[in-house]
């Protein structure tokens, strides 16, 4: 994958006078020229609103917008592009589900099963809907190797269980979520099965037909695409049944003064002018990943994660907060370095050109569960090289020096 770096203009940049080692891909990934140019071309050549196509530009924009939907559908193995709804991102997708499915269906005492490793995007929407409906949240915990502990699962699998929602991959520990087991559990009691795929679709080959979940949400910006757009995939029957959360233009077939009729799926979920340029950019990102091949992406990440875990294990006082087993994790490594606070680690690394994130990573329940106030996190993608990791390790030794760790 060495050669892909040339496609990413930002990687040529110096930061604080140093080569940029961008290790913050779980927060957002960098974009190849192919994506940046697709967006500019859209605005320069055929920008128009979609689906009201009375003129040539509108027809071109609509085709490009719908082509992007088709690319995404194929990328995740969906049966039809109608199963793909454009959203603002994973968070928006999860809220579309919590409102669109939960608000009218959940009742007092119903249960929503999550895990303690969930991102706030897969916690807070359920708290809001629980408050509106009287449903309650229940959580699975982790085992010693930071995997979801399923030994208590049975306790929650009964007719009160209406929704299971789990991360395909943790953005803190890198843990791959136990999706197959939870799909089975959901099936056994007819609960809705949702995957927060913000970190899994970008990093793991994904086939929704094989997964067997009901709904899956992810963000373009975490997979080489632009900010401002994401996708929600749903099984056709589920999308059919689900209420639209938002109302407005484009999502209706008829509006009368006091009532309206919704448009067919997927349009009923896409109220208002959609993120058109962003869909075009998302499509270009999918093309790019398709060309690399998701199997190759995963292989690259396993290799780079292995290298990183090896090199980090050399650093005294460094503790990795996440699974050691490469098959159970992705390329997101949270760690602590002695008594140096993660923010100080990040500041020092930044001076060395190394971009890592420090904090709670939008996973405060997990931080409390693990009893760490914060972690530093290095996260990888297709452009990450061993040189980036070496630069990270050099920076960590510099941090040790500055803080006088022997």
């Amino acid at each position: 994958m060495q050669q892909v770096r040339a496609d990413f203009p930002i990687l040529d940049r110096l930061v604080n006078g140093k080569r940029l080692a961008y290790l913050d891909s779980s927060a957002t990934t960098q974009k190849p020229s192919q994506v940046i140019d697709a967006i500019s071309d859209y605005y320069r050549v055929y920008n128009s609103n979609v689906h009201r196509g009375a003129h040539t530009l509108a027809a071109e924009a609509t085709i490009a917008y719908e082509d992007a939907r088709t690319k995404i559908a194929q990328f995740i193995g969906a049966g039809s592009s109608n199963e793909v709804v454009f959203t603002k991102g994973t968070t928006n997708g999860m809220n579309l589900i919590s409102y669109g499915w939960g608000l009218n269906r959940l009742r007092e005492g119903d249960r929503i099963l999550l895990t303690v490793m969930e991102h706030h995007a897969n916690v807070v929407p359920w708290q809001i809907i629980a408050k509106h409906t009287g449903a309650e949240l229940v959580y699975l915990e982790l085992d010693e190797d930071y995997r979801v502990d399923l030994s208590n699962l049975d306790r929650f699998v009964d007719d009160r269980l209406k929704i299971i929602s789990v991360s395909g991959m943790s953005n803190v520990t890198g843990t791959i979520g136990p999706v197959p087991q939870l799909v089975e559990a959901a099936r056994s009691v007819g609960a809705l099965m949702i995957v927060d795929a913000a970190q899994s679709v970008p990093h793991l080959p994904t086939n929704v037909a094989e997964i067997g979940a009901d709904l899956l949400v992810f963000s373009a910006h975490k997979m080489l695409g632009p900010t401002g757009i994401g996708a929600m995939w749903g099984r056709p029957e589920i999308l059919e049944e689900m209420d639209p959360a938002e109302g407005g233009g484009e999502m209706i077939t008829d509006v009368r003064l006091y009532e309206s009729r919704w448009a067919p799926v997927p349009h009923k979920f896409e109220a208002g002018t959609p993120p058109i340029a962003q869909a075009v950019g998302f499509g270009a990102a999918i093309d790019y990943l398709d060309k690399l091949g998701m199997e190759a992406v995963r292989r690259h990440e396993v290799a780079i994660t292995r290298y990183a875990l090896d090199r980090l294990s050399e650093v005294p006082d460094l503790r990795v907060v996440g699974p050691t087993d490469l098959s159970a994790r992705g390329g997101t490594i949270s760690f602590e370095l002695g008594d140096i606070h993660p923010h100080d680690v990040a500041t020092i690394l930044d001076q060395e050109g190394v971009a890592v994130r420090a904090g709670h990573h939008c996973a405060k329940p997990l931080m409390r569960y693990l009893e760490v106030p914060a972690t530093a996190r290095a996260s990888f993608y297709v452009y990450t090289t061993e040189e980036d990791i070496d630069q990270l390790v050099t920076g960590l030794y510099r941090a040790r020096d500055l803080f006088g760790l022997a």
């Binding site: 923010h343 100080d344 500041t347 106030p373 006088g404």
Partner: protein
């Protein structure tokens, strides 16, 4: 180099050995500060008698800058009158801000104006970290406005 100026020894010392750590059973005011963007926390108990801060206790969790700033602040305000503390806070604010008036610190006499707190000047080169140094002081301002009312 900037990093050496940021992580001065006195800062690391306060970070690792925070002064006046704990809570006060006889606190007159209590305030808590949180930096939502990074999660740093700082809480402050003050005992105040006749316009003088007679005792201070702090607790916190966060980076070396926020915690050292809190420890140094606790040292600096204990035993001072509220008026003196107000002046101190003002000087600290001016020292840390990039464009608000002239730095009150006298380079010829290090420590003479703001004591250990002067070590935090290095933070000015790291704008995103200034809010770390500020956290204890915004908490203090909150505590003092409670004390007034």
């Amino acid at each position: 180099m900037a990093l050496e100026e940021l992580y001065r020894e006195v800062i690391l010392d306060h970070y690792r050995h925070p002064r006046h750590k704990g809570t006060l059973s006889n606190a007159d005011v209590h305030a808590e500060g949180l930096n939502p963007s990074c999660g740093d926390e700082f809480s402050l108990d003050l005992a105040i008698a006749d316009g003088v801060i007679t005792d201070v206790a702090t607790q916190g969790q966060g980076c070396s800058i926020s915690q050292a700033s809190g420890s140094m602040m606790a040292d600096a305000i204990k035993g001072k009158t509220l008026e003196e503390v107000g002046e101190l806070a003002h000087k600290f604010r001016v020292m840390m801000s990039i464009d608000e008036g002239e730095n009150p610190v006298d380079p010829a006499r290090p420590g003479a104006v703001l004591g250990d707190l002067e070590a935090l000047q290095g933070v000015r080169k790291f704008p995103v970290r200034i809010k770390c140094a500020d956290l204890p002081w915004t908490t203090l301002a909150d505590a003092l406005s409670q004390a007034e009312s």
